[in-house]
Symmetry: C2
Amino acid sequence: MGPVGVGIAGLGVVGSGTVNVLTRNADEITRRAGRDIRVVTAAVRDLERERDCDVSGIELTTDPMKVATSPDVEVVVELMGGEGVALEVVMAAIAAGKHVVTANKALIASHGNEIFKAAQDAGVTVAFEPAVAGGIPIIKAIREGLAGNRVEWLAGIINGTSNFILTAMADGEGTFDDVLAEAQRLGYAEADPTFDVEGVDAAHKLTILASIAFGIPLQFDKVYIEGISKLAGVDVDYASELGFTIKHLGIAARRDNGIELRVHPTLIPKRRLIANVDGVMNAVLVCGDAVGQTLHYGAGAGADATASAVVADIVDVVRALTTDPDNRVPHLAFQPGKLADLPILDVNESRTAYYIRIAAVNRPGVLAEVTRVFGDSNISIETILQKGSGKSEEVLPIILLTQRTIEKNIDQAIEKLESLDDIVGSVVRLRVEHLSE
Amino acid sequence: MGPVGVGIAGLGVVGSGTVNVLTRNADEITRRAGRDIRVVTAAVRDLERERDCDVSGIELTTDPMKVATSPDVEVVVELMGGEGVALEVVMAAIAAGKHVVTANKALIASHGNEIFKAAQDAGVTVAFEPAVAGGIPIIKAIREGLAGNRVEWLAGIINGTSNFILTAMADGEGTFDDVLAEAQRLGYAEADPTFDVEGVDAAHKLTILASIAFGIPLQFDKVYIEGISKLAGVDVDYASELGFTIKHLGIAARRDNGIELRVHPTLIPKRRLIANVDGVMNAVLVCGDAVGQTLHYGAGAGADATASAVVADIVDVVRALTTDPDNRVPHLAFQPGKLADLPILDVNESRTAYYIRIAAVNRPGVLAEVTRVFGDSNISIETILQKGSGKSEEVLPIILLTQRTIEKNIDQAIEKLESLDDIVGSVVRLRVEHLSE
């Protein structure tokens, strides 16, 4: 059979990487897929700009809709980003009967339900491995490799920028602002880093992971999101002293009454493998009832690593071209119409352990006062660390690790603590996950 | 559509686990696969024996051939082990037009080429995810998730028994013999542990991983195999002092002139994630030209973890039931007829770094003699550690780490060293992999 025609909408870093990988590994890829895979057209913003890939033989256009509907194209690769034109392009490609591969996590997290519905109706596949954790085949692992499991929970380092910053902070390289500036200098953080450091990007990815893990519709708006921009170096240090590393995790967990979806800085015991995932690398820990814990680690971004996932999806699509559309691997891992309506729990219903830092006036009895507040809120304390000892200090930090409790109990305790005369300023609260079950 | 009938040949630990997982997660699995999956028959050795699973509704027989050919069965799960009857059962199932799922690494490593040829001719699939690294979906990751890559090398902790023993030795829990006895007591090692501790089991798995990574035929007989039974605790300690952990790795690497396939104890820098994979856990590190390094970690054995992979393969088979047989995911990741005839290199052609321990007479000039031997064999020394200092000692250990070289150079150097008057006994040689490229 002849080659499979691919059209790429967006020839930036990942687009160029995709062309390069398809060219460089053409022989191996054809031997795997059983068909030649050829990029025939690509949409770019500026036809004159120099490219990071060889575009000879590729018809360039400034109109992504032309790529989406070109009769020479069987697979449309959407790499424009954003939720405006990208959505139009994907829907046009589906309407034209094309399969789609996309790296666009925002698009899938926010519009995936309608996109997959349209794709199902049209009998085409919309693949999105590159949208989560770059080159790590985590979508495939959960959707297919762990298909025998009831997934209990998953926790992922799914934003390389945040992990780079947290790693540098843990290595004593400076405050959040210092290491953010360094990350920007190295190209690991955008000029406007909000999406990465405030957790929005991670929440997009978590939305997708949770959907395929639990068989629930995509519900980005229900994810609790907390970034790392307010994380103080002193808490990184105290956490370390207590045997923990702080990572920015996306966590999805099944509870008796629904699903928790939350993104926040998290203390993890240092001895856990995922606590040692450093720099811009990503890793996702998945706990299934049969398999136990599996960890999937690799590069979460970068031209070639993301291109690896794009090409894998193209090969997948090619390998399933003859499959009856109603019998393909379902977009969200579960058959359409068989998604569960498990409720997403409000964050104040979530259950986890906590790290609490309090600035307390240095006088006898203050510790008793503090611990009584936790007792009154029905929270068990695991560890207390009281820092400083010199009588000259008027305010001392008290650090506590609690056992697992419901977040609203902690909120209540913090409110009470902050109302005490002997407590100065705000109480710092971070979540702790032991990841042991 | 009606349920998919499954027949299980062998209802031991993994077989019972498979029945349990299919029963427990029936609802989720059906929602994923789009069909009910039902175990209709199973072959057992002893009909009277008590089972670890509920066999009501399952027709039991002592004849696995009946399972292989039952008209009620679409998918045959082979969990008997061995290469005798198991091969007959698999070939009979294929001949009867059944799809097959097997956890039998020895069978695939030694007879896979003929099995896959027969399956291809019959238009059926033989799936073998459970044969390598238990519940970790590593076959799927390499065969599909990394399909855009030229795989450069892979290195895996793929035998839980050996890793349990090495972890215990590193933790100072005793000699090889001590911790083997403990592993046997805990059920992590067989009464006859030869297959595990001498590396045969790991070699079976490495054979399979290398085949799907590089697109080469299965060639178990060409794997270099070295076990851990001769590993001395003193070398575990010196390695640790030098910043390394010793793991039993299966390594497959692409070189300019062919493929290296070797299983042996290996020093790995402690800071590598895979160096921290402890106890009975497994992990496979894969380096692709596009994705860079990915690590895949999880339980390598156990009833439920292996059942997880069995069920995933069954779901895969069901999801591809309507796919044109010539267009399915190929058994060995590359299209049949498109496998490469890259030569497997003899171990003396392999390139790696080495740890060398020498017992030398304590007299001036001996270090110069030793280092001259390495220079003469064109081997650069990275680190020298000379232990002991008291004049009372007549023989002192010298430990060296070399830079990368060809194994035959090391063989030559060791031969020369052992012929020196000042060197006592045999030279200890272990391989070192930095896993950094």
